[in-house]
């Protein structure tokens, strides 16, 4: 029998490959990876035989790589060492009938001990006393000398190997102790011994199993990621879809650096648009200009604004009894800035609503920013001295001005309240405006005086609020945007030769003009409603400081037909009679100008020409004189018409300013005199008939003495044009010349 050495190549020397802490490895079918421990110390064991490798399988075990067929026997027979490398169940014995007998299950330690016990180290003891051994060996027969000589040699090398292994182990134990004591230890690597095929296969199996496990894990991870990504994609699709819809109308920007907290991607909407680049004060972006876009609970886009953060411009007339200071009942000045809707569950059908709500919110904020800018501009302009604007009060977000016509207005910046339901009967919104200084109350002019027909009061404050906003938008923002100057400026500064453009001035002058023209209009209406044959026509002037009306008097058709009949029968002096007379009233800023046809020329009167040119006269007047002047104009137009009619009928008539004198037989002169009285409640133009027979000269010279009727004066009343025409026809019969 030969001690078969391990089929392994030469070893370079013991090197510690890897250090593992002490652990008891469980019994398993396949041995796990076996680290090899070799003490790194060439010098320690220089004589180490290279063909023996000591593999450490278990701690404190000294497995010897010896083929299992080597058994240990007693000294007198074959020695064989059988050590179970693989703890497989081995047959103990097999009987003749085929049944197998297995050894009983022994404990691991006990098994180990059994194995160690099977090794007989008697020879090692004998070797240490080589003299004894030689002596004993010398007595042996020569038959055994060969084998025993070989045996001790082999045995001796085995023992040496065991001793070396033991020393290695002691080094290892020292190493363990050292490392446990935290001393630094340098370990060099070493190469593994080549593995047996079954070891290789087992290693391969283990790694394959691990890889399979990894694959499974990876597969699960991929699938999980896929579902999570799908959810994320769906969430973000809603968000970005809404964001793109908002981007159609608003500027969406993104913070590049330092995205805000809570996972927002840093989107925000920029509502600021600075258009002012020249002399006007550049407007600072308000705090509301950038609106962050956030996610709500469902991941959808949400815009959160603090409530009541939007303010709106408010224009008011100051005075406690102005009924038009209240808000309209249906005025949608505000939008509910509640965020209740964002808490509800969002579905696809609600995405539209969400986007629409956000859009409305942004519109509201945009408008609020504009109002703030307008207010700033107004404040700047109001503080500069100007002609028509008197600044009477200034507070934070509040300005009060006094206008020419005795009106006081206030311009303020108020938070858009959600309460629209103010009572219609209430006066001012005292809860919102500041306390009014008492000296500004100037409503007395409008509280007393004329009746309801004449009182038009102040114009609607809402219209002027809108007008104010429009002015500033047009002349500040749009002008800068379009860079047009000439056409725009000419309209404002057309009535005043100023170069610098003050929008607030223009606005206040427009307001004053409107108040004044309302007064004019009320006067005109009062006049016209008592003069049945005069119509009032309003004209649009497309200018905020100009108003114009026309009082037109039209001869009724019946008279025209009658006149044409008579004319055709007379067949002489077919003359085109004026059938329409007009008087135009134009109010520019606060000056009234009246122009009308039909007033006889003074020069023509003196010449006594039958054909009187009727140029168009124009003259100015003020409000107090307006009724009289208009009535005189109308009356003279009536007289003019009567004059022309009479001439066309062939009657000899003379015309004075407001009277028409007929020559009767016997030298009598009958005059039809118009009397105008603006205060007359029944009618403004009344007619008198005066007969002058040359005897009552003194009466004529003293017209003021005779007030009432007499034999020569008869009050005809308020006649219509038909009656006047028939009176004229009566005179035809009377005159008969």
């Amino acid at each position: 029998m030969s001690l078969k050495p391990a089929a392994s190549p030469a070893r370079p020397g013991p090197i510690i490959n890897r250090f593992q802490p002490k652990q008891t490895q469980p019994k398993s079918q396949f041995p796990k990876k076996k680290p090899n421990f070799f003490v790194q110390n060439h010098r320690l064991f220089p004589d180490r035989p290279p063909n023996i490798s000591v593999q450490r399988r278990q701690p404190l075990e000294v497995p010897i790589h010896i083929p299992p067929e080597i058994l240990i026997r007693t000294m007198d027979g074959n020695l064989k060492i059988s050590i179970d490398k693989l703890p497989i169940k081995r047959l103990d014995a097999i009987e003749e009938n085929g049944s197998e007998r297995f050894p009983s299950d022994v404990d691991y330690d006990e098994n180990r001990l059994n194995l160690i016990r099977r090794i007989d180290f008697g020879w090692a003891v004998e070797r240490e006393d080589p003299s004894k051994k030689q002596k004993s060996e010398g007595t042996t027969t020569s038959k055994d000398s060969k084998t025993t000589n070989q045996k001790p040699g082999q045995w001796q090398s085995l023992v040496e190997n065991l001793q070396l292994a033991r020393q290695e182990l002691s080094v290892i134990i020292d190493l363990i102790n050292t490392v446990e004591a935290n001393d630094a230890v340098t370990v060099a690597g070493m190469t593994r011994p080549k593995q047996l095929p079954n070891e290789i296969l087992s290693d391969l199996a283990v790694s394959t199993a691990t890889k399979l496990q990894c694959f499974r894990h990876l597969g699960k991870y991929f699938k999980q990621s896929a579902t999570a990504l799908e959810q994320q994609v769906a969430r973000e699709a809603r968000f970005y879809g809404a964001l793109i819809r908002l981007q159609h109308n608003w500027k969406v920007k993104r913070h590049r650096f330092g995205a805000s907290a809570s996972g927002n991607k840093g989107f925000y909407i920029d509502l600021f648009y600075n258009t002012l680049n020249d002399t006007s004060a550049s407007l600072r972006p308000s705090s509301m200009s950038t609106i962050p876009i956030e996610h709500d609970t469902a991941g959808m886009l949400a815009v959160n604004l603090p409530p009541n953060s939007c303010r709106s411009l408010r224009f008011e007339f100051l005075g406690s009894h102005f009924a038009n200071n209240m808000r309209r009942a249906g005025e949608t000045n505000t939008r509910a800035l509640s965020e209740d809707s964002t808490e509800t569950m969002k579905e696809h059908a609600n995405d539209d609503e969400c986007v629409r709500e956000t859009h409305s919110l942004l519109r509201e904020v945009h408008r609020a920013i504009f109002d703030e800018q307008v207010f700033e501009l107004i404040s700047c302009e109001a503080c500069n001295s100007s002609l028509s604007v008197n600044l009477t009060g200034i507070q934070e977000n509040y300005l009060s001005l006094s206008i020419n016509q005795g009106a006081s207005v206030s311009i303020s910046l108020l938070p858009s309240s959600q309460d629209n339901k103010t009572d219609c009967g209430a006066g001012t919104n005292s809860s919102e405006t500041e306390t009014l200084p008492s000296e500004l109350l100037d409503g007395s002019k409008f509280g007393e005086g004329k009746d309801n027909v004449k009182k038009l009061g102040f114009p609607n404050r809402i219209s002027f609020e809108i007008y104010l906003q429009q002015l500033f938008n047009e002349y500040v923002f749009v002008k800068v945007k379009n860079k047009t100057t000439s056409s725009v400026r000419s309209q404002i500064s057309g009535q005043q030769s100023k170069d610098n453009l003050n929008i607030l001035d223009h606005f206040c002058m427009s307001l004053a003009h409107r108040i004044f023209s309302n007064k004019v209009l009320s006067e005109l209406e009062y006049l016209v409603c008592r003069t049945p044959y005069v119509q009032l026509i309003s004209h649009h002037t497309w200018h905020s400081r100009t108003s114009s009306w026309t009082l037109s008097m039209k001869v009724p058709q019946s008279i025209l037909h009658a006149g044409s009949q008579i004319q055709s029968s007379g067949a002489n002096n077919v003359k085109n009679v004026n059938s329409q007379f007009w008087t135009k009233v134009v109010v520019i800023d606060e000056s009234i100008s009246v122009q009308g046809e039909g007033n006889p020329n003074v020069v023509g009167l003196f010449n006594g020409k039958p054909e009187i040119t009727s140029p168009i006269n124009r003259y100015e007047c003020d409000l107090a004189d307006l009724p009289i002047i208009l009535l005189q104009q109308v009356a003279s137009q009536v007289i003019q018409w009567l004059h022309e009619e009479a001439l066309s009928l062939g009657i000899k008539v003379n015309r004075d300013f407001l009277s028409l004198a007929f020559e009767l037989d016997h030298g009598e002169i009958a005059s039809l005199v118009a009397h105008v009285d603006p205060e007359d409640t029944i009618g403004c133009i009344s007619w008198w008939l005066m007969i002058d027979d040359g005897l009552t000269e003194d009466l004529k010279l003293h017209p003021g003495l005779s007030i009432g009727e007499s034999e020569s004066r008869k009050f005809l009343g308020h006649l219509s044009l038909n009656v006047l025409y028939s009176t004229l026809l009566d005179f035809v019969n009377l005159c008969s010349c």
Binding site: L212, Q213, F215, R216, L218, G219, K220, Y221, F222, K223, S225, A226, L229, E230, V233, A237, Y240, G241, I244, N249, K251, L271, Y273, T275, R328, G330, E331, T332, R363, H366, R367, F370, N460, I462, S463, I466, Q469, Q470, N473, E474, F477, V478, K481
Partner: protein, 115 residues
């Protein structure tokens, strides 16, 4: 693949994201296939892998198109905030006029009812 003219840019990018999700699912499927006890079924794994590659190609194509077609423009050049304010003012004017007309109508109806 959808032709570009039919879908918006956002929809195309959303399709890309859906493809990425599908790609992940395929990868998971392939891994599961490889990890199965009886070994991977070749045709299924091949199908998955070919679909994977096709999708990757589609994704790459779509992204390249999108990046190329991202137009160069000065952002916010055509900002319409000022006309928007004009629009708001016009809207307010309309509201006011409608209110006035309603009042006139009410007055007329009042007279008609009284008559």
């Amino acid at each position: 693949m959808d032709p570009q003219s039919q879908t918006t840019s956002l929809q195309r990018l959303q399709n890309v994201e859906k493809r990425i999700v599908r790609v992940l699912e395929l990868a998971g499927g392939v891994m599961d296939e490889m990890a199965s006890q009886s070994g991977p079924r070749k045709e299924i794994a091949n199908n998955h892998c070919s679909e994977f590659m096709q999708l990757i190609k589609d994704i790459q194509f779509a992204l390249r198109e999108e990046i190329k077609s991202a137009c160069e423009y000065r952002p916010f050049e055509k900002c319409d905030y000022v006309p928007r304010i004009s629009n708001e003012i016009c809207y307010k004017k309309l509201e006011y006029v409608i209110a006035q007309l309603d009042e006139m109508k009410q007055t007329m109806e009042g007279y008609r009812n009284a008559a």
